[in-house]
Symmetry: none
Subunit: 299 residues, 2 copies
């Protein structure tokens, strides 16, 4: 095979990675977030072990090596060494990574912030506008310049349409941790705070067609889904989260998530509900917005 | 080495395991609980992937094979195939396992139920009343017949008073997973569904004095607390949960938890909010109330 063989060998670009710092890790979730350098560029790499799949269980049990750790009565524990193709680690690389990426993945204590409608106008909105976070990657998806092959469903309507695709966190190997995102086609809606009764057709369209598409593609009925928005969101282009009920997806806690069904009901009875209501959400210690709330004496 | 070599080879006893049923699994925690047979005996095996260790990270990154999954802008994802000794799976075997072991590890699927105000009157309320779940243990606490030494704070007022004490789930060893319950002195309020503007003084009293008591006793400010009610609750005598923000307490998900601050605001703007609103909550497959919703054709 000569040179050909060399070309076809997958090159491990991470073998040149040099670690600066572990940003965070979770023994429960079996993941780790690491800041370092990759070929002289700043990079963040995220490793997360993959869920154990029922369909490979027989092969996993028969094809592995077992090392006994301890035995006590009817209980025994082992270390199981599996064939590597049955035991992959999901790896995400952000490169070149900015200071913001590093901060995003750095573990931080959070504080609950109380944001009135006036606080939003005087503190949060100016902060968002000044930051002008790039959502170019969102536009790439909406314009089919990236991830077009990952789209699960699309309604192309510019007013009520959206693109539904798997979240990066989901490896799509099993529905147990199903996680999809609906990104809306309209580009002027930043978050929950912008929603009024004029957006009811959009929200209802996402609710109905998103659930239908998930039933079609994954055979998962609406009664097994948790459908919600984040406030604050991690990017200011309206999007809706679809996760499997029973899967404790990060960010599905009551302090950050708002059920789409509740949002629709609340706007139906008061178009200005999310413009006027005090909203509560956690902000990490290093979040610039938290400093703004502190400066304003709101914390 | 002859026979000796054979003896020293680790025998994989699990290669003879035949699976009857996956009892439960967690995509988030990367574990699976399986019931089956091992050499003609009932057995439960538990597999759980191990946390990613910082001290083996360099070896893991350099010694693995990477398969590119996708690339978009500065983000790329890979499947990483690691040397098996760096990526073990913790394996626990219970053998022979009894019926109790099997039940213990059996997960119940939940379904999201949609309960209108009318559903509450015609399905849920009659079910609660017929069951007449005993809350004697709650009365014992309120009357100091039990757990009196565990009380962290009490306001004895019969209208707006409550008892604050640690939840059983919290071992009180550290505040990281702080979990307290405020149980109200009035006895006629079953749940969120019963709350109207007449209960605002009670709710505000719990909100203010509960947070004060936790600051006093545990030195934890209100901005580190998640204060909420469950619907459905696990017992029908009104109580409020106080947990540490950042601790993912069971039941703090958006599908079951309602922030006390939101409840107060909603009742302030509409006294009948929780009497009339459609509420969503998960019910386990073996929950009697789920059968009632099915019988009524509401699922």
């Amino acid at each position: 095979r000569g040179l050909g063989a060399k070309d076809s060998e997958p090159k491990n670009i991470l073998s040149g990675f040099s670690t600066s710092k572990v940003l965070s890790d979770s023994a429960r979730e079996k993941n780790i977030f690491v800041h370092g350098k990759l070929a002289d560029q700043e990079a963040v790499i995220i490793l997360e072990k993959t869920p154990i799949r029922e369909d490979t269980l027989a092969e996993l049990l028969s094809g592995s090596t077992l090392k006994l750790e301890l035995k006590n009565d009817i209980y025994s524990t082992y270390r199981l060494q599996a064939p590597s193709h049955l035991n992959e680690i999901k790896t995400t690389v952000v490169c070149p990574a900015t200071e913001k990426h590093v901060k995003k993945y750095q573990r931080q204590e959070s504080s609950l912030v109380e944001e009135t409608g006036e606080d939003y106008q005087s503190i949060t909105l100016p902060y968002i506008q000044k930051q002008s976070f790039s959502v170019q990657w969102v536009f790439n998806i909406l314009e089919k310049k990236a991830e077009a092959d990952r789209i699960v469903y699309e309604d192309p309507d510019p007013k009520v349409g959206f693109v539904l695709l798997p979240d990066f966190k989901w490896d799509q190997k099993q529905v147990d941790d199903l996680y999809l995102i609906a990104i809306v086609h309209p580009r002027e809606i930043k978050s929950l705070r912008d929603l009024t009764s004029e957006h009811l057709p959009l929200l209802q369209n996402i609710f109905v067609k998103g659930k239908e598409a998930i039933l079609q593609r994954y055979n998962l009925p609406a009664s097994k889904l948790r459908v919600y928005l984040h406030y604050q969101p991690s990017y200011y282009h309206l999007h809706v989260h679809f996760t499997k009920l029973g899967y404790e997806a990060p960010g599905c806690g009551v302090e950050r998530a708002h059920l789409l069904a509740d949002v629709i009901q609340n706007i139906q009875s008061d178009s200005q509900y999310y413009k006027t209501r005090t909203l509560y959400f956690p902000l990490r210690a290093d979040d610039g917005l938290l400093s703004k709330f502190k400066e304003a004496g709101r914390l």
